[in-house]
């Protein structure tokens, strides 16, 4: 049996024991429900799980929450389907009696759970889903989101892209909402900063099924100065290989979303695309005290280096623990109020969950890819604080439904 199943089992056992021991009332564990695509996207979600396990262990080692109550997590796989995630959410809330929900990777699953949370008045922290809709168009009182949204990450890259002399741009993005909104935000923001640029061609490969040779060739034919890439995972490695062989990247700037994250950069090994401007996470180089402490603890616990997913898992549960302490209770309405404006010190630095739209100000690292010792690393990077890449408050208010 693996560690995860053991945790789940001991969680159940613990609950049974606690329920039978009437004197143990004060030490009742606080249960959190966690849902993610563990089988659908293990490359991201397994480091993510390690991250939240570490956070929970740290909280409990310090004596738990609310005067000695332990934090317990009941975790489930959504098998990559929103309809399954909704059923699981109902299981966690109704039969596992969790006080809040957290997790999810895919945007549509995050949205499904957020709708469930609003209807059932349960706090939900969307850890990973990037769609702007989670906190804006489909935002609701009970849902908060940790990671910088598609808009924010595009805005970070636009800042760099606008400095380039390039005028003719092409885009390549997976053919679903994430790709579409990334391209739309990038285009709009770059045009606002640089009215002289034009977008001359776009490619929309089906997610996971890129026909890289033809796509590269088609982009090449548009003879661009620069390329904006949103593909990731297996599509990215195909695209990079074909593009390198066919000379697509020769003398052209490439600006690329998420490519600097260890999840996507490390599998490319010695073929990491040098010179690409990316968002990511140079885990081996970030030396702030909070990050060093996190990385050391993580390496010690799991004998592996952290990925971005680990940060996301860790910070999500950091935030939950902080909210419970701040609320002084596990009552949902109090928790929601505590989440509004909550400050935590994540491994990446201070993060605030904004009261106005429930979006956290977690940022991302923006830098360039270089090859060092036969693998890709980020160089010339800086931490882009998420707070600086959000639209003005009145614009946010326009996009978000009133409570």
């Amino acid at each position: 049996m693996n560690r995860f199943a053991r945790t789940a089992k001991s969680a159940v056992l613990g609950a049974v024991l606690a329920a039978t021991a009437t004197t143990a009332w004060a030490a009742d564990p606080i249960r959190i429900g966690e849902i993610n695509s563990y089988t659908g996207l293990p490359a991201f979600t397994i480091p993510y799980r390690n991250g939240w396990e570490l956070a929970v262990e740290e909280v409990n080692a310090k004596g738990g929450l609310l005067g000695g109550r332990k934090l317990e997590v009941v975790s489930r796989d959504d098998s990559g389907k929103p309809e399954d995630a909704v059923r699981i959410a109902s299981e966690l809330v109704n039969s596992e009696k969790v006080v809040a929900l957290a997790g999810t990777f895919f945007s549509h699953i995050g949205l499904a759970v957020s709708d469930f949370a609003a209807r059932n008045k349960t706090l939900f922290i969307a850890a990973e889903p990037l769609t702007d809709a989670v906190t804006w168009e489909k935002g609701n009182r009970y849902t908060f989101r940790l990671r910088p949204s598609t808009y924010m990450q595009a805005a970070m890259l636009v800042e760099e892209a606008a400095k380039l002399p390039a005028k003719r741009w092409v885009t390549v993005a997976p053919n679903y909402e994430y790709g579409q909104s990334a391209v739309a935000s990038f285009k709009a923001l770059l045009k606002a900063k640089r009215p002289d640029v034009e977008f001359v061609s776009e490619q929309w490969p089906a997610q996971g099924k890129i026909d890289a040779g033809s796509t590269v060739q088609a982009l090449n034919a548009a003879n661009p100065d620069a390329i904006f890439n949103v593909t990731f995972g297996p599509d990215l490695s195909k695209f990079v290989r074909e593009g390198t062989t066919r000379g697509l990247f020769d003398n052209r700037a490439v600006v690329s979303l998420l490519t600097g994250e260890p999840e996507y950069l490390d599998p490319l090994k010695g073929e990491a695309p040098e010179g690409w401007i990316v968002t990511g996470y140079p885990q081996e180089q970030v030396d702030t005290p909070e990050h060093k402490a996190f990385r050391d603890a993580y390496m010690k616990r799991f004998n592996d280096y952290p990925r971005l997913g680990s940060i996301v898992g860790y910070s999500t549960f950091q935030a939950l623990a902080a909210a419970i302490e701040k609320a002084g209770s596990t009552d949902t309405e109090k928790l929601v109020d505590a989440m509004k404006g909550l400050n935590i010190t994540s491994p990446l630095g201070p993060v605030t969950f904004r009261a106005i739209d429930h979006q956290a100000t977690m940022g991302a690292y923006v830098g360039k890819v270089a090859l060092k010792g036969g693998k890709g690393v980020m160089v010339d990077w800086r931490y882009a604080d998420g707070a600086k890449y959000l639209p003005a408050d009145d614009e946010v208010a326009k996009r978000r439904p009133k409570e």
Binding site: M1, N2, F4, A5, A8, Y38, T39, P42, A43, I46, R76, S79, K81, P82, E83, D84, V86, R87, S90, E91, N94, S95, S107, H108, L111, A112, D115, F116, R119, T131, K138, N175, E177, Q180, Q203, W204, P205, A206, G208, K209, D211, A212, G213, S214, T215, Q217, A218, N220, A221, G233, P234, S237, K238, R241, E242, T245, R246, G247, E263, P267
Partner: protein
């Protein structure tokens, strides 16, 4: 000019990969009639094994040796699958092997994750072919040139193998007429085993050859298997030349299609398949299958109206379902409601598949249309739940009426694949028409009316609707319409001769099944509160198929039992382990071996509501 030439060549390189995988699938289907759902898994295993060999051995020998070794190993694994599993199922109802191979898919997914880990593995470039060549000034990878040459070479080798060896002659004979080949004293077992070896080795080879082009990853199996099926069907089942042409066609349309309409990537292959099948019902080079002589499968026992014990049992089940909310908690009610909906979904598929004799690989289209009817009504017209539940079967039925008209002109696997094509087209519309359907982010806030929002009320509503609908389907099966439908399935020629319009009957059955699936979809939408394109995706169609097959396609109770067992397993296993795919796949394989006629079929034989099919054969 140079650009168009290289684009053409990129299409050729893509076609070569497609052809290798599809040719194996085509050979397996041609001879054994097995719809090998696990073919993509062999492709993925081939890639992983080639990666490992080239990683451990390294260099020139490691890479090229790894490709050969991976292909051979994939073949051997195919042989094991045939000897342990498939061999025991040749006398089961048609497509039952599909269920077995579905179990294999699940098991291999978890095994691959355990062995090779979650991260994508980027293998080496092909030693000796790392660079690029210049074609009319355009850079083109050397390795792709190699693939372009390899495709026709493999085709030629296979054609020679079939033409000049005794084994090839037997394979061709079995493809044309399996029963006759068996009657002439050919050892079918050995032939089938060897065919599985060749077919799976080709899949493994196709996967291994991908190592220099993409990082080996855990999604390779599903992303390839459907496309390989499309190529085989477009080319014509069992025709190698056809598969080659189809691969070329799809490769080229993909290469040039994205220049004109980049968004077409989602749906292109299915559009091609739909057009080809509508114009040529047996694919580009396929021939109508030899008339079945009924030797391979014993004729089905006629369905019998339920006797008194069965009726009493049905009433008892209903009574239990009525009493359950007294003891069941909130979550149990959620799961029960879902199970009921899926029972109706499976029953509707069974209606066209069992008595109707039309297998659908795309039944989720109508389920999804029903769900979208409810969702769109809520989103755009503020329609209430009752309006949604009325519209759902209407939209599902209309979709089936439209697509059914094309589908009933085909038969067997061609019909099934055309339903898949239509389902994928509907899916891509839901996925891409963001303004109306919300795209992949779906439609949220589709909740039941206030009076039905309590879990137990919605459960009773679902129970009432599902019971009524299932009884109606059952009634139809025993009505003259149902008898006519079954006659048309068992003997189309005789039915036509006595003046029945078989095609029209099938069209009606198709539409009725679509309407019922739509109703199930509407109920599902309100149970979930949201509607997503996943409702009409391939996995949803496969789930329905698995439920029907698991329960037993030859009994009316089959889909009900199958839906309950499959959904129950799925929800429960996920709760206790991360390796739910391994466990679920293992259970499916065991069930398939223990109940080669489905669970309800086995119960039927045991308790004998009459003579079993076996007894009469």
């Amino acid at each position: 000019m140079g650009f168009y030439v290289t684009q053409f060549m990129s299409g050729l390189a893509q076609a070569a990969t497609l052809f290798l995988v599809a040719s194996g699938l085509s050979i397996i289907f041609g001879v054994t009639r097995i719809v090998n759902f696990a073919h993509g898994s062999f492709y993925m295993l081939g890639a992983y094994m080639a990666y490992t060999v080239s990683d451990v051995v390294g260099g020139f020998a490691g890479f090229w040796g790894g490709i050969v070794a991976a292909a051979l190993a994939a073949g051997v694994i195919g042989v094991v699958m045939e000897m342990v599993l498939l061999r025991r199922l040749y006398r089961s109802p048609e497509l039952f092997q599909l269920l077995a191979t579905f179990g294999v898919v699940l098991v291999i997914q978890d095994l691959a994750l355990t062995i090779w880990g979650p991260e994508d593995l980027l293998g080496p470039r092909a030693p000796g072919l790392e660079g690029r060549v210049r074609i009319l000034g355009q850079a083109f990878p050397q390795y792709d040139v190699f693939l372009i040459v390899l495709g026709p070479v493999v085709l030629a080798l296979l054609l020679l193998l079939f033409k000049w060896t005794r084994w090839g002659t037997l394979v061709r004979a079995a493809t044309q007429d399996r029963e006759m080949t068996g009657a002439l004293g050919v050892n079918e077992r050995r032939l089938f085993t060897s065919v599985l070896f060749v077919g799976c080795a080709l899949a493994g080879l196709g996967g291994a050859l991908q190592v220099p082009r993409e990082a080996v990853n855990l999604q390779m199996d599903v992303s390839m298997v459907v496309e390989a099926f499309v190529v085989v069907v477009v080319g014509g089942m069992g025709s190698l030349m056809g598969a080659f042409l189809a691969a070329l066609l799809i490769g080229q349309l993909q290469a040039f299609g994205i220049l004109i309409f980049p968004q077409i990537t989602l749906v292109l292959v299915f559009l091609v398949m739909a057009v080809v099948l509508v114009v040529r019902p047996y694919g580009l080079l396929g021939k109508p299958p030899a008339a079945a002589r009924g030797a391979a499968h014993a004729p089905e026992a006629p369905l019998r109206p339920a006797g008194l014990p069965a009726k009493l049992f049905g009433v008892a089940v209903l009574a239990v379902l009525l009493l359950l909310p007294v003891v069941a908690g909130q979550y149990a009610l959620v799961v029960l409601t879902e199970t009921l909906v899926l029972v109706l979904f499976a029953a509707s598929l069974h209606f066209m598949m069992g008595p109707g004799g039309m297998v659908s690989f795309g039944h989720a289209a109508y389920f999804g249309l029903g769900a979208y009817a409810a969702g769109l009504l809520t989103k755009h017209m503020d329609g209430g739940m009752l309006a949604g539940l009325v519209t759902a079967p209407v939209l599902g039925g209309l979709g089936a009426l439209l697509f059914g008209w094309f589908c009933v002109r085909l038969s067997g696997v061609y019909l099934a694949m055309l339903t898949l094509a239509f389902a994928q087209i509907v899916w891509s519309v839901a996925f891409q028409w963001t303004a109306v359907t919300g795209g992949d982010n779906g439609i949220l806030g589709v909740w039941p009316a206030p009076w039905a929002s309590a879990k137990w009320v919605y459960y009773y509503l679902t129970l009432a609707v599902v019971t009524g609908a299932v009884l109606m389907l059952r009634r139809a099966i025993f009505a003259p319409f149902g008898y006519a439908m079954r006659a048309g399935r068992d003997s189309p020629l005789r039915s036509e001769a006595i003046g029945m319009d078989v095609r029209r009957l099938q069209w009606l059955a198709f539409t009725a099944a679509g309407a019922m699936a739509g109703l199930a979809g509407g109920l599902y939408a309100y149970a979930k509160g949201s509607v997503f394109p996943t409702f009409l995706s391939v996995p949803a169609s496969v789930d329905a198929l698995v439920m029907v097959l698991m329960g037993g396609v030859q009994t009316i109770a089959g889909p009900l039992v199958g839906a309950a067992v499959f959904h129950g397993l799925e929800t429960e296993v996920v709760r206790y382990t991360d390796f739910w795919r391994l466990i679920l796949g293992g259970i499916i394989i065991l069930l398939v071996l223990a109940f080669p006629k489905g669970i309800a079929g086995a119960a039927d034989a045991w308790f004998g509501s009459g003579r079993s099919a076996e007894g009469r054969a």
